[in-house]
Structures are given as structure tokens and as C-alpha cells.
Symmetry: C2
Subunit: 415 residues, 2 copies
């Protein structure tokens, strides 16, 4: 039977426990929202001072070369690559996840259009995919030169049949933002390929959360986020992966100078640079970009297998404790119990989920809320302890037992 003492024992034996001190976490807070905005690496403040004070303030324009600002998108991409099963020269950190998806999806559709799949005009995804992914596909479908249709599938079971002879691209988010459901990337990619489609993956809730093996799965394109599990800072630039085997044929519509073969030749004709650089467009936000490195530094002190082992232990414990200690309350688990299908978050529905989450936040347990009725708890093994899980559940139990939440709580924008 679990107890706080048992959780403290688990912490004492946790090989990742020492990494918590790499992060600046506020006193009295149990932060279970790293799936929305990762915590701040301690090193980020000094790095910002260096970039702003010295590189910008002292070296000014010279820092583009001298401080390596130009190379940062590729250098950070190379450092991120091992976390997602990518190789050097295949990833750049740039722009936003939405924009990178626009490029990846456009590139995939163009590859189909120019090959034997030229007749295919359908993009398949889930209705429950993160909305911006759907919106980006809608915008691209509407504006692109050949006219595409978006096919929204209502359940995972319906996905295979939806990938038919009309399907050009299967576009999925690996781990669902709301439920924490993890797709079988290898199987679905194989199914897409077997049926003549390409597979584009959004790793927003995967990168840094669990081991991803893009090459092992033979995925075609991927994008993802650095401000969640990678702890890159608020709104830090996203990433895009194009495997070496697709790079020569990869083109995309936002052809800015950063994707040009010779950006400073200032020639009036666009010619894409060889390699992953062609996924770039304009000048990147250097200060925000530099913070990404501080997040990646922490991952060098461990490996994704260790992170995953602890993530599953944390989420198993959270599920077990909620179900054993909050009995009699209308909580429903929506995250899969099956490890292979679970990301690094746990979601429960409650009829007053929004109000309960507000009460939790007021008590220092920071998760978040997603329509409809879903309380979402993210577990980030680099800085979440087993005792944190115990304490969070005890506070949840107390709030529920005492009905200490305001069902008329005003809604504010949430992330």
C-alpha cells in the first residue's frame, strides 16, 4: 500500500532525483503543467545575460558570426536530434510548431504530387488532433495550387481504413494533448506507406517526454515544440525534421532568405540550400532561441530510457493514488493504462473539472484544464518527484472531499 513514506523511498532511489536542482521551481508549488510550459532551467538566466548583455550589447552585429547566432537553428537541431531518433543535419529549431507543420505538410503533399501518388488529394487526421494542426491543414488545403480535402477521423480504430487510395498524407500528433493517448508511430507509418501515403508526425507532447525513434518508424516528416518537455522557455522556437532521404526533394512555400543556398549573395532568384536549411525562412529570435540550449543541456545528463522509466512510474503512481484515495468522486481516467499507449500526462474528467483545477492551482498544484471536463496533469521526470505525486493527490482528495471548489468560477484564457 502506497504512503508518503513509500514515495520518499522511491525518491531516495530515483536515479534522476538530482536533476531537479537544475531547475528553478517556486517554493510551495507542485508543477504538473510541464506539458504546457516547461520549468525554467537555472542556467537560463545567466545565458540570457550573456546573450543580451555581452553578445548583443557589446559585440552587436558581429555576434551573428562570432557568437554563432547564424548556426544556432542547426546546432540546436543537431543537439535535439538524438532525443527523437533523428540524425545530425536533419533538424532545425525555427519558427513555430504551426508554421513548421505548414512547411512539412506542404512538402509532403508536393512530394506526392510529383510522384506516383499525384492523384491523391486527401489529408487524413483525427478530429481530436490539436486544433492548430487541423487549422494549418485546412489553410494549406484551401490555398494550395491543387486543392486538397481534409478527412477528420473520429476514432483511432477508423484511422487504418481512412488511409485509402485517395490519401496523400496521414498527419497525426504522436501523443494526444488532451487524453495523453500515444499512437503506435511505427505501425501507423507502415500502414500509411503500405497504402501509398506519407506520414507526418507532430511530436509536441513527445519530444523530451518519451523516447521517439523517427528513423526506426521510417517516418517521413516531423515537427515539434521546445517549450513543453524540452524546457526551452515560453514560446521558444519549434523544430522541424526532414530525413536525409527526403531532403533533396523537399520544398516548401515560405521561401525566405534563411532557406536560400547563398543568402548573402542577394540574388533575385530563390534557390533552396541543400539539406535541412531549406526548412528555414526568416531571421530567428536569438534570445528565445538561445534559451533552448539550456533545456537541452539537462537532457545530456540522462537518457530518454531513464526518463521514460520514471515517467511511467510517476503516471502509474498518480493513477493508482487518485483511484484509491479519491474514491466516491466522479473522476474518470481518460489516459490509457497500457504503457505503450500512454504519453507522459494523466487526464481525468470530472463534471466540475474546471472549478476543481482552479482550486488545485489555488492550493499550489498546477495542472491545467481542457474542454470538455478534462483535468490534465503533466509528469516531467526531470523535476517531478514521487512525493510531489503523493502531495498532489492528497490536495486533490481534500478539495473533493470538502467540495472546496467554486463551480461558478469565472473562466479565463488557459493554455
Amino acid at each position: 500500500m502506497a504512503s508518503r513514506g513509500h514515495c520518499l523511498e522511491l525518491d531516495a532511489a530515483d536515479p534522476l532525483a538530482h536533476l531537479k536542482c537544475e531547475f528553478a521551481l517556486p517554493q510551495g508549488v507542485i508543477y504538473l503543467d510541464g506539458n504546457s510550459l516547461g520549468a525554467r532551467p537555472r542556467a537560463a538566466l545567466a545565458r540570457a545575460q550573456e546573450v543580451i548583455g555581452h553578445e548583443w550589447g557589446q559585440d552587436l552585429i558581429c555576434s551573428w558570426n562570432k557568437a554563432g547566432w547564424f548556426d544556432m537553428p542547426k546546432r540546436l537541431g543537431d543537439r535535439l536530434a538524438p532525443l527523437i531518433g533523428a540524425r545530425p543535419g536533419e533538424v532545425v529549431v525555427t519558427d513555430t510548431t504551426s508554421l513548421n507543420l505548414f512547411k512539412a505538410l506542404a512538402g509532403a503533399l508536393r512530394m506526392q504530387a510529383e510522384g506516383p501518388g499525384g492523384h491523391r488529394r486527401v489529408i487524413v487526421t483525427e478530429r481530436s488532433n490539436f486544433p492548430t494542426d487541423i487549422y494549418i491543414a485546412q489553410g494549406l488545403s484551401e490555398w494550395m495550387d491543387r486543392g486538397y480535402t481534409l478527412r477528420l477521423v473520429d476514432s483511432v480504430d477508423e484511422l487504418p481504413a481512412a488511409v485509402d487510395e485517395q490519401c496523400a498524407v496521414l498527419m497525426l500528433t504522436h501523443v494526444n494533448y488532451r487524453t495523453g493517448y500515444q499512437h503506435d508511430m511505427a505501425a501507423l507509418t507502415r500502414h500509411a506507406h503500405d497504402n501509398g501515403a506519407l506520414a507526418v508526425w507532430d511530436l509536441a507532447h513527445s519530444a523530451g517526454a518519451l523516447p521517439v525513434d523517427l528513423h526506426g518508424a521510417q517516418a517521413d516528416f516531423a515537427v515539434g515544440c521546445t517549450y513543453k518537455y524540452l524546457n526551452g522557455g515560453p514560446g521558444s522556437p519549434a523544430f522541424i525534421w526532414v530525413p536525409q532521404r527526403h531532403q533533396a526533394r523537399f520544398t516548401q512555400p515560405v521561401t525566405g532568405w534563411w532557406g536560400h543556398a547563398a543568402p548573402f549573395a542577394m540574388s533575385p532568384g530563390f534557390e533552396p540550400v541543400e539539406g535541412i536549411g531549406r526548412a528555414m525562412c526568416g531571421t530567428q529570435p536569438v534570445v528565445s532561441l538561445a534559451m533552448v540550449e539550456c533545456g537541452l543541456d539537462v537532457f545530456e545528463k540522462t537518457d530518454m530510457q531513464s526518463v521514460r522509466a520514471k515517467s511511467l512510474a510517476l503516471t502509474d503512481l498518480f493513477i493508482e493514488l487518485v483511484e484509491s484515495r479519491c474514491t466516491g468522486h466522479p473522476l474518470q481516467l481518460v489516459t490509457p493504462r497500457d504503457h505503450a499507449r500512454r504519453g507522459s500526462q494523466v487526464s481525468f474528467t470530472h463534471p466540475h473539472g474546471y472549478a476543481v483545477m482552479q482550486a488545485l492551482i489555488a492550493r499550489g498544484v498546477i495542472g491545467d484544464y481542457r474542454e470538455p471536463h478534462i483535468m490534465r496533469f503533466g509528469f516531467t521526470p526531470l523535476y517531478t518527484s514521487f512525493a510531489d505525486v503523493w502531495d498532489a493527490v492528497e490536495i486533490l482528495k481534500d478539495i473533493l472531499d470538502r467540495r472546496d471548489y467554486d463551480i461558478n468560477a469565472a473562466r479565463s484564457a488557459v493554455t
Copy 2:
């Protein structure tokens, strides 16, 4: 006759002189490259500490609401608006100049396609426009649903005739990055309208450099940069302006969740928000974005008329001194002498322009070089003094007189 003493007198009488102390400039450097990367406002370091240390580190996810991160693109846009003759609710600071041009140009083309200009299929611009603007138009033309052609004009004189009955959009950069030539925005916009075209303006070298009156010129769309004359920091997010009269009809292809009417309703259909918000796409780099405010704060302590008066005095003085003190050297002014046609930079060609610029930089006079043969000097009235101009010319004279430059200097990437 000019002398250093006279320049010091000009500085003593300069109503903007006190603003220099708002910036952290390195000792022994005369910085004439603010047209590429603006200097660092002193306040930026403390602001970064607040954003990273407190807002991210302490308040974490709550800062999206509590610290106003969500509203920052619009709030900064409203603060920037008066500098370019825009109104509140018409500007957002977001993404990159290249991406914003993609959106503005796409929006303009779609407006034409849906109106009486539906047959128009040509985008007109200058061959000498900043390359990324041309590349973006090329990418958009190639990928968009209706097929557009880009018409590159070789001289300003040829522009009017190029705006013919096939022309959908006249797309120009207000001040040329290489020559410093300033277009007559009002006249060219009127000419575009008289001929059924829309006018899209890139203000990269105008915003913060000189007074811009977008409404006075009846411009249709505009984009620009915050890391040059606005001193927002390396790669700080760019801006896009859509006048209120066009907003209801404005749509663009990168339809991410930040442009949605209800981003947190998580509905699977894109519906653009009313107003300028529909020009946004994904989550913005908060730390880099926050720095933009420090740059804008300085502009609140003066007005663009005062900035322009000093800019013209500085550029007049630089031209006069180079021409009077560097006699006998093959320097050729390419920037217009006519005030109405001049931006806030001065460019001279020299057969060994690259080598001379490297020698200047080695002596602490930081300008930059642009192909072919162009030495570019930016004058930023907020932190450039008349004595700086004198000293820069004396060093240039010394380098030229003594031929103290290496014509075999290795080239490195320059911005």
C-alpha cells in the same frame, strides 16, 4: 567649414543627445550598423531578468494571463502603431518579416481574386528589392491556387508602367536596404490604386528610422522589422499592419490557433478572429518579444519628426565630410542627396569596399558591406552623435590615405 569642434557644438545643441544614455554601447566603438541590428536599450537586461526569472521561473504557466504574455503581440503592435501612421488594433508584433510578407501578400492577392481585379495575376516589385521579399513572392506565386507571376522592374522609373491591367499587387520596400533610396509611398500607392492594384509595403528600413504615414498614403498592407531601428534585439519578432478597412476581408494561408476566434474552444474548424489577430499563427517567443518593448519605450521620449530632423542632419554631415575630406579616393555616393528620397543610411561604393569596411570595423567603426562594392553606414539618431560622424570619417580618411586595408581579406557571412 566643418570641424570636430563644430560637431561637438551640434551635439551640445542636439535635443536628442540625452537619449544616447538609454543604450548600452561598447567603449571605443562608433556603431553605424543600427540599420542591421539596433543597439541594446539598457533596460533590456532587467526586463529579461524579470521575464525569465520571475514570469517564467516563478509564475510559470500562469504568466500567459498574469504577465500579459497572450496580449503582447497586440499590445506591442498598438505601441508601435503611431511610429508608422497606423491606428490601435491594426498592428501585431509576430513571426518574421518574411512570414508576415507571405501573409500580407497572400491576403492582398486573395482580396483581388475575390473582387473586380480577379483576372489580375502579376505581382510587381523591383529587382533590387531585398531578396527575401522577392523569394517570398516567388514561393507564394508558385504554390498558390491561382498561379501568379512576379514582374521584376529594373529601375524606379519603370515602376509606373509596370503597374498595368494585369498587376494585382505592387509590393515594395519603402527604403532600399542597399542604396537608402526612399520611395514616394503616397504617390506610388495612389498610382497603384488608380490602376486597380493594391500596394504592400515593407518598412524594414523605415520603422523607427523616419516618419511613416500608412493611413496618409492609403497603403493597403505593411510589414516590417523590430530589430533594426526599433532596437528590439537580435531577431526580435517582426510586425504586420492590416488597416481596419481591410480587416474583415483579410485572410491568409497560415491559419494557426493564435489567429482563431476562440483558440481555447479547441474546435476542429478554423474561424478567423475579428481584427488584426487573424494575422497571427502560432505561439510567439515571449522572451524575444518582451525585449521589443524596451526599444519602443525609448521612442516615447521623443517623436519621429525630431528623429527625422537629426537623421537628415547626420546623413548630410556624413556625405559632406566624406566628400570634402576623402578627396582623391574612388568613393561614389549611391544614396540620394534629395532629403525626400533618402532613408536613414548612407551608402558609398568603393572598388575595395569589402576590404575597406573590414578595416573600418577593425578600427571600431562598425558599418557593413553589401554586394556589389557598397559600404553601408546606418545613422540612428537615438544614439549616434555628430562627433561620431566626424570621428568615423577621419578614420575612413586615414584608412584610405594610408591604403590600410587588405584587399585579400577573407569573406565571412555578413548580415
